[in-house]
């Protein structure tokens, strides 16, 4: 019995106690499976700071938890369309990354972004887009269109997975039907809903975890993120990625400093650290998305250099857009449509 107690006590110290070997602490709150452990190790070594990584699985969970307080996090990585909400709710601090040493490495394209003009709050983490993934052994036609999931060809019916992301799905559908994002035109939205309700029986799932299901041939097509397409292709060479010409959403997740951070100095060190091309390449090497730091390509793993999923072809550049956050009233309408779809 005594031995069990001793063993338990030892295990508890590991599990419950924080270690005190480092000069400082840094608590990163990030999407799950999104942080390269090598990046963390490198940072810990360079600055002698102990870093903990804690995961979330949706923007709203992260927002709810941080807003409630007492969380102990220093840095968070919200998506572009949420950054302004974090600012409005007074949750993130003006860390002024634009005045940091490594800021010169940030690609001009990602400096004056609508959700954070001039980058007073956030540092780019990774960016990508939601598009079409198709197993071309099943379907040979044009894949650069949202009709793959909204008016599916018969070869793909019953084999389509759609990411359960309200904004991304509604955006593609609104664009597909020729409307504008954040529209509150009821006539038009009714068409949007009917289109989705009509298409849903032809889908097999609305789920995450797409990559392995292309490998196992459970899915034949998907409306999903490009980084996942890259990984799916590595497991099933028939998988190709398409850019919906009607319109598709870009996303960028950016690192922000929380107002109630306990270790703001270490957090700023980290923000500066990830703007270094070599370190940014580590981020990308892990989750397979582009990062927005100039010169990081040369440090990236072979499979990512010039990958067709990561380089948006010139002709489709203008079809992509960043989603702004719609007004609460419009958001409400969109939620209702979403509920109608999922009920």
């Amino acid at each position: 019995m005594k031995r069990i107690v001793t063993a338990l006590a030892a295990a508890m110290t590991v599990a419950l106690g924080g270690s005190a070997w480092a000069d400082g602490q840094l608590n990163l709150y990030n999407w799950g499976n999104y942080t390269n452990p090598e990046l963390i190790k490198k940072f810990e070594k360079e600055y002698n700071v102990k870093v903990t990584v804690t995961d979330y699985d949706s923007n709203d969970t992260a927002l709810a938890k941080v807003r409630a307080g007492g969380h102990g996090f220093d840095l968070v990585v919200p998506s572009a369309n949420y950054v302004q909400i974090w600012v409005k709710e007074g949750l993130i601090a003006e860390a002024r990354p634009d005045q940091m040493e490594n800021f010169k490495n940030v690609d001009e394209r990602w400096v004056n972004v609508p959700w954070d003009p001039g980058r007073h709050y956030t540092v780019p983490w990774q960016w990508g887009l939601t598009g079409i993934i198709v197993d071309t052994s099943l379907y040979k036609g044009d894949i650069n269109t949202s009709s793959i999931f909204l008016d599916p060809p018969k070869e793909l019916v019953g084999k389509i997975n759609v990411a359960p992301e309200m904004n991304d799905v509604l955006y593609a559908t609104i664009k597909y039907l020729g409307g504008d994002w954040c529209t509150d035109d009821r006539e038009f939205l009714k068409k949007v809903r009917d289109k989705l309700v009509e298409a849903k029986p032809k889908w097999i799932a609305m789920d995450y975890g797409t990559i392995e299901k292309f490998a196992s041939r459970d899915y034949g097509a998907a409306y999903y993120w490009n980084g996942a397409a890259l990984r799916a292709r590595e497991q099933n060479p028939n998988v190709k990625f398409g850019y919906p010409k009607e319109g598709f959403p870009f996303f960028m997740d950016s690192v922000a400093l929380l107002k109630d951070a306990k270790n703001p100095e270490n957090a700023k060190l980290f923000m500066n650290f990830i703007m270094d091309p070599q370190n940014a390449a580590l981020i990308s090497a892990f989750a397979k998305y582009a990062n927005g730091i100039k010169g990081s390509e040369q440090y990236m793993p072979e499979d990512m250099k010039g990958a067709p999923e990561l380089v948006v072809p010139e002709e489709f550049q203008k079809s992509g857009a960043f989603l702004e956050s719609c007004s609460p009233e419009v958001h409400d309408l969109y939620t209702r449509i979403w509920t109608d779809l999922l009920k």
Binding site: A64, D207, S216, D218, W338
Partner: protein, 308 residues
Amino acid sequence: MASAQEAAEAAARSDVRNRWLLSAPALLIIFFAAVGPLFIMLAYSFMAKGDYGDVKFGQFSLDGWFSVLFERDIFDDTLSLADANLSVFWRSLKLSVMTTAVTLFLGFPTAYFIATRPPEKRETWLFLITIPFWTNLLIRTFAMQEVIRNEGILNSVLLALGVIDRPIQIMFTDTAILFGMVYVYLPLMVLPLYAAMDKLDFRLVEAGYDLYATRFRVLWRIIIPLVKPGIIAGSILVFVPSLGAYVIPRVLGGGKNMMLGNYIELQFGQGRNWPLGAAISITLMAVVMVALLFYVRSATRGEAGREG
């Protein structure tokens, strides 16, 4: 005489007091970390919803409760019963009842089988029931996925046996959710059933046979009534969590059709309608509690009747 009665009353009072003391730790922990905080939910259900989730603190509103029952058509503003809520509720109820029934059907014979092994073997069988459940729910759900996939074990075996000539699509259907819930909640049925059966007095069974009862009559008239507390406990343990299941419908159901757990999560998450989420939750709790009250009442009344 009078003093004896007084002494008896005092003893009874002290017994009740001791019983309160004895249950105090459980009551306190539950109050602090489960029930107490729920009052916040009640308050939240009567507030106006915040723009980006949460509520506008102190702003009274009945919108949340209104939307539980009714919905204004988004397009022509007509008022109707909240069809979305009802269909989600109905699907959850249906699947939970089926889950409970199937786990009882499988769990009862299993628990009985274990309880009738020689005493030294029972614990081994019991451990066999629990071992799969030392891996967590998410992993078990994934494992289930491997079994019911189109190219999974189940379909392969059926194909090989010639029962079917092409794979049945089970994955991403309500059947998949049912499979998953039965699999995940089965030990919650077996363990309490076993606990009740383990102390079954087989002399009563023997008496039944002495009176020329058939095996079925013995089961129905003697064994089942005796282990009724176990059946009730098991059914509650399976039914209620399946009603609020979240992970299983998401992974096995493919997320296309929500159950109540997912619907509530939507309101607290992407939907940003916390008052509605709170109101639905309270409604659900109320329904479950009323149902249980009736269930427990009728079950105990039946027992009292037999004893009397």
